[in-house]
């Protein structure tokens, strides 16, 4: 029997197994998944927890619920992959031999990588993040207690998971303080290492305009050197200082440490792969999927989802010694919450930047691209149901895996 080991039972790993299993010949494969946590977290929900829209319990379900029968889930930490010997060694001592390995161990915020950021004097007190359940919950308490002052939203370095999330957080914070009647007591500053509000030109202009309208100050080209905990300010590599009363940062994102220990990662522990097939550049029997790979696409659930639509076909062809023919295009599709019950939708890939127009979706859509509408906001909220009930179980969604130009306006 062939052994397939999947490291990580998050969004990408779970979808991959659910899509792959029905296509594998019965009795020929043993699939083992390894993950440290028994909990599957609906990560888009992190954005809403600080504002009290979602409660922590609403975004967590047991991983077991989404792992198909016959697949073993091992709750353990990975020590390292010995790619020459085709063996995964777990910290607890167990060894898992594999014929094929899928690395789906994602990306994690690492406040320890910026001097002063995780200083116990300030961490989870005046310095927060919202990419973990613990962090989003602590930030909720901090926001409730916040009565005015300088709120600085900050990105440490690209790439980050869900690159639109810090902008969404900023828009929602603006709406939240208005709702509480203290917006005029709050100075909102958006600090980014990028040249503008976002990465892609058309989108960056549109989103930058949305910051202006809300009187949110944009501080671009800011590469952080350290957090000065005592003085409560962030300091850049070129000695710019930004004081804060409350800092909401997106810490440096890195892939799993075992990837580095195994010699399989780049400088941020992401696994170099072919960007169209997700096959490792170093080993012919290792794939890296979801946020764990180094593909130049957004680190986002939608990218994991679209790429996994194509993955089973490629995997089966590769295992059978045939060429892989399904070429992933970097397709991403993100709802952007903009506050006051509205949102935007962007749809893009490796080569086409987000543009305005309509996003056709039979039965529910069309959604409006790159403009604020209520339908987009409801689309985002509806998505939680789709995630648990359709996406993770590997069912087909009525969305094309590859980006389509239908409805998009390309002029200008």
């Amino acid at each position: 029997m062939k052994q397939l080991v999947v490291l990580g039972a998050g969004t990408a790993g779970t979808i991959a197994v659910n899509k792959l299993l029905p296509r594998l010949a019965p009795g020929e494969w043993k699939i083992t998944m390894v993950d440290q946590s028994p909990d599957h977290i609906y990560q888009p929900g992190f954005l809403f927890i600080p504002f009290g829209t979602y409660q922590p319990a609403e975004v967590v379900k047991p991983k077991e619920q989404f792992i198909p029968a016959g697949v073993e889930l091992v709750l353990a930490e990975v020590d390292r992959v010995d790619a020459e010997a085709n063996v995964v060694r777990l910290v607890a001592g167990r060894e898992l031999a594999y014929d094929y390995l899928i690395i789906a161990s994602g990306t994690t915020p690492r406040p320890d990588q910026t001097p002063g950021m995780d200083d116990p004097e300030v961490w989870r007190k005046s310095v927060h993040e919202f990419y973990t359940l613990e962090g989003a919950t602590a930030l909720h308490e901090a926001l409730e207690a916040f009565t005015g002052g300088r709120l600085v939203v900050h990105i440490t370095e690209m790439p980050i998971k869900c690159p639109v999330a810090p902008l969404e957080f900023t828009f929602l914070a603006d709406a939240y303080f208005k709702e509480r009647g203290i917006r005029d007591q709050v100075e909102l500053i958006y600090v980014t290492p990028l040249e503008g509000a976002f990465t892609k030109p058309v989108c960056s202009t549109k989103l930058g305009g949305m910051l202006d309208v809300r009187q949110i100050t944009l501080e671009p080209d800011f590469m952080i050197e350290r957090v000065d905990a005592a003085a409560r300010m962030i300091v850049s590599m070129d000695e710019r200082e930004i004081p804060f009363d409350l800092l909401v940062t997106v810490p440096l994102n890195m892939g799993a440490d075992f990837v580095a220990r195994s010699g399989l990662g780049n400088e941020l522990n992401y696994v170099p792969v072919d960007k169209h097939t997700l096959l490792s550049k170093a080993y012919d029997n290792i794939f890296a999927i979801g946020d764990a790979s180094d593909i130049p696409a957004s680190k986002a659930g939608s990218v994991a989802h679209f790429s996994m639509d194509l993955f089973p076909e490629n995997f089966l062809n590769h295992v059978a010694g045939r060429p892989m023919t399904a070429m992933f295009d970097g397709h991403a599709n993100c709802f952007i919450e903009s506050g006051d019950g509205k949102g935007l939708l962007i749809d893009f890939n490796y080569t086409t930047e987000p543009m305005p127009g309509k996003y056709p979706l039979p039965g529910v859509g069309p959604f409006t691209l790159l403009a604020e509408t209520q339908t987009n906001h409801w689309g985002k909220l509806m998505f939680r149901w789709m995630y648990w009930n359709l996406l993770l179980p590997g069912k087909d969604l009525p969305l094309p895996a590859l980006m389509s130009m239908a409805g998009k306006r390309t002029e200008g």
Binding site: E157, M158, L194, E195, E225, D238, E267, L268, P296, A297
Partner: protein, 104 residues
């Protein structure tokens, strides 16, 4: 994309003035490119630019500031001192490479 003449060399550039053909670059050109953006090239500047060129040849993409630090051994802080404000962009521009895409 268009063709520009820099220091007597005909080169292909994109809308932001970045060279688009790896092999059209040379050090005379780089001096002029540096001058265009107010950078005075010292030995250390050249070390970084030459490393970026070599790394691109191997990797097929431009190193980010982080890679330039961890793999190339040039501290990010120093990159900011040598190429003020926007080191990633300025280094790529002078080295005749595409802007690095840490940003998607």
């Amino acid at each position: 994309m268009s063709v520009a003449t820099i220091e007597g060399y005909e080169v292909h550039v994109n809308e932001e003035g970045f060279l688009t053909e790896y092999d059209e670059w040379n050090e005379t050109l780089a001096l002029k490119l540096a001058e265009n953006i107010g950078v005075e090239m010292t030995d250390r500047h050249w070390e970084i630019v030459r490393w970026l060129r070599a790394d691109f040849k191997e990797q097929g993409e431009t190193a980010t500031t982080r890679r330039t630090q961890t793999v190339g051994g040039f501290p990010t802080k120093e990159q900011f001192e040598l190429f003020p404000k926007k080191p990633a962009k300025k280094m790529a521009y002078i080295a005749g490479l595409p802007k690095p895409h840490g940003c998607v």
